[in-house]
């Protein structure tokens, strides 16, 4: 036994030494603001539309900035979400970074003074001229960190909106007409139900369910209603006709079997997979599914805007932000400008993304064309109504549990709406 001991302790000591040296060597100081490196962080998958387009933007940036090194780091959404305020408050902040839009995210960082005010750059480069008003709402934050007015703290590169995805093959096979009005839409749902098919894919444990709810309310809403709810310009009343109609209709749809009661516990991923595998003929959700459906759907499919509604869920996409502690801000502005140019925007559009400033003629893929035309239509008629979980911190979880109760029928629509009202009033800023 004692013979074994000596070499063991020796190796242990050697290991400790080696480990110490390597772990100490990692603390290389941050690069100085020499204009020679651009530190870029984003969290889009490399094969997504944004991933592809921004990769091209990096190449273009290198071409126009010879001698500048681009240090790109792929991050996770959660990672940036959880650590942003700490990283941006240190010397290790990147020069330009993708960040989630909204009061609780970009608004909060802006309020804390961690982001650079981009207003001078926006007018200098003319980015504001490329973006429609409902897209720019999420770029501007006032001193309270509330979006919609004030300085520019971010620039969106893409847009997102919700639409009705439908399985053309299943529609044809069951002899169901593609609806163009809300009445026809409900007829189509009834027709599928009559054939024994649950028409709507739903994930009650995550965002899809309350996006149905909000969309139904939007069929009875206008911009003033949205501004009251999302931007606190007026009083949001959950017992008003729009919300009441939405809650009653959704609970009605479940009773009629258009939405499966069992979907109350399903995740968004489950809802998407049930559409991809051809089980559900219709899925109402966002443009973020578009690329995946294009790659994986083995049937003919298409999309249309929610019938009978001028407004739909959506907004400008995630923002490019420049941290206050960024070392090479000019390079960051140059990079943002490249991503706003036609070339990158067209690439975004041709890969299943929703560009904010592409040339419609340069989009060659026909299904992408449909996607972008629909976005431009909503955006130009000022129809982007954001997302229902935005106004109040923690509202997402309230919405999920409230719509779950609606789906399982464990609470009446009125009780559900009162629950939402209570959470909203508790969290909304009073001023």
């Amino acid at each position: 036994m004692s013979k074994v001991r000596r070499p063991l302790t020796l190796t242990a000591a050697a290991m400790v030494g080696a480990l110490l040296i390597t772990s100490c060597g990692s603390s290389d100081g941050g690069a100085q603001g020499d204009g020679k490196t651009l530190k870029l962080w984003h969290y889009e998958a490399p094969n997504s539309a944004m991933g592809v387009a921004w990769d091209q933007a990096i190449k273009e940036f290198k071409k126009t900035h010879p001698g500048v090194k681009v240090e790109f780091e792929a991050k996770g959404f959660e990672q940036i979400q959880k650590t942003a305020s700490m990283v941006l408050n240190s010397g290790n902040a990147p020069d330009v970074m993708e960040y989630n839009k909204g009061n609780a995210t970009a608004g909060l960082l802006a309020k804390q003074g961690l982001l650079t005010d981009l207003t001078p750059q926006v007018t200098k480069y003319g980015w504001d001229k490329l973006l429609s008003p409902s897209v720019t709402t999420t770029s501007r934050y006032d001193a309270r960190g509330v979006m919609g007015s004030g300085n520019w703290y971010g620039v969106p590169n893409f847009g997102e909106y919700t639409m009705v995805y439908y399985n053309k093959d299943l529609f044809a096979k069951n002899g169901v007409q593609v609806p163009s009005t809300f009445a026809e839409f409900e007829q189509a749902l009834a027709a599928f139900k009559a054939k024994g098919i649950t028409p709507l894919a739903n994930g009650g444990a995550e965002y899809p369910a309350h996006q149905y709810l909000y969309q139904l309310a939007l069929t009875k809403a206008d911009r003033g209603w949205v501004d009251a709810f999302e931007l606190y310009k007026g009083k949001a009343d959950f017992r008003d006709p729009a919300w009441t109609y939405a809650a009653n209709t959704l609970s009605d749809w479940v009773k009629k079997g258009y939405i499966a009661k069992t979907s109350s516990g399903a995740k968004a991923e489950d809802a998407g997979v049930s559409f991809i595998s051809g089980k559900s003929p219709i899925f109402f959700s966002g443009s973020w599914w578009y690329g995946r459906f294009r790659d994986e759907n083995k049937f003919k499919w298409g999309s249309f805007l929610f019938p009978g509604s001028k407004m739909t869920l959506g907004s400008g996409g995630n923002l490019w932000v420049v941290p206050k502690n960024a070392k090479n801000k000019q390079l960051a502005y140059d990079f943002i400008d490249i991503t706003m140019k036609k070339g990158i925007q067209n690439t975004l559009g041709n890969n299943g993304g929703v560009p904010v400033a592409a040339e419609p003629s340069a989009i060659t893929d026909p299904s992408s064309k449909e996607l972008i035309e629909n976005f431009n239509k909503v955006s130009s008629q000022d129809g982007l109504a954001f997302y229902p979980d935005w106004p109040v911190p923690g509202f997402y979880d309230v919405l999920v549990s409230a719509t779950q109760k609606l789906i399982t029928g464990s609470a009446s629509p009125e009780a559900v709406l009162d629950e939402l009202q209570k959470a909203y009033d508790a969290g909304a800023p009073t001023s």
Partner: protein, 273 residues
């Protein structure tokens, strides 16, 4: 049926093992599927052919070789330092019989139950003050201390039961405090130390929150943080997540198998007592 009657324990164990292995098997199966196949047939179907792109894509995307090295360096250092620290503490408390022993132990237990979320901000500010933010060394220090809190608690009770005759005999032979520690206490309690070493390594390997917060650059990232890269805002890439899970769990599994004997020895030692 006969076997069921004759080996009830064995059958129960086999069932239990199958139950434990099943999730890992599902991960393995889905890691080798293409995303289209997953979407079409669901997570429980068997793959039709080998699809390795998920594994290789993930490997290159997060520079997994480097990430693996980071995790090894951090977990390895923590295991060694944590055990050393626990040993010194426990030697003082368990054998040295210092005054207020119970309070010290209570303090360590308390440190043990402290949620890590409460430590995040203090650690962030402290490490920024001393210039250790975004270095692996900061995590090695933090986790050595965190793990040593548990290690001290455990080792103290083990060493409190250390046969005093041996120590007294050594003392009569002229051994000092230091010599008693290295020549007597350490060799005798080596199995326990081995177990602690393995536990510290695996626990540190699995840590997520503090590495996430303390190591923002990808160059310093650990395996568990790298797995989080795949969690999108609204979408998840199920097959690649499985591939990543497989890659992330394998090293810890290998480490466990390598030190399996240390573990069983440690457990057996306790049993004989």
């Amino acid at each position: 049926m006969n076997a069921l009657k004759r080996f009830p324990v064995l059958t129960a164990m086999i069932l239990g093992a199958a139950f434990m292995v099943l999730p890992l098997l599902i991960v393995l199966v889905n890691a080798l599927k293409s995303p289209a196949e997953y979407s079409a047939n669901g997570p429980l179907s068997l793959p039709r052919g080998l699809y390795l792109n998920g594994l290789t894509d993930f490997w290159t995307r997060v520079d997994f070789g480097n990430t693996l090295l980071n995790s090894l360096v951090i977990s390895g250092s923590v295991a060694v330092f944590g055990v050393l620290l626990s040993l010194f503490n426990a030697y003082a408390i368990g054998i040295g019989r210092i005054r207020g022993k119970a309070y010290f132990l209570a303090f360590f237990v308390l440190a043990n139950v402290l949620p890590q979320e409460a430590l995040v901000y203090p650690l962030y500010y402290l490490s920024k003050q001393v210039g250790l933010y975004d270095t692996r060394l900061s995590l090695v220090i933090v986790f050595s201390v965190v793990q040593a809190a548990f290690g001290t608690y455990l080792l103290s009770s083990v060493l409190a039961a250390f046969p005093k005759e041996i120590i007294e005999a050594a003392r009569i032979d002229g051994a000092g405090t230091w010599q008693i520690l290295w020549r007597m206490v350490v060799p005798v309690s080596r199995p326990t130390l081995g177990v602690l070493l393995v536990f510290f390594f695996i626990w540190t390997w699995n840590e997520f929150l503090l590495p996430l917060v303390m190591l923002p650059s990808n160059d310093n990232q650990t395996v568990s943080v790298a797995l989080g890269v795949l969690q999108g805002q609204r979408l998840m890439d199920a097959t690649m997540t499985n591939a990543a899970g497989l890659l992330g769990a394998l090293p810890a599994l290998v480490f466990f198998l390598l030190f399996q004997r240390t573990l069983t020895r440690g457990i057996a030692v306790g049993a004989v007592k």
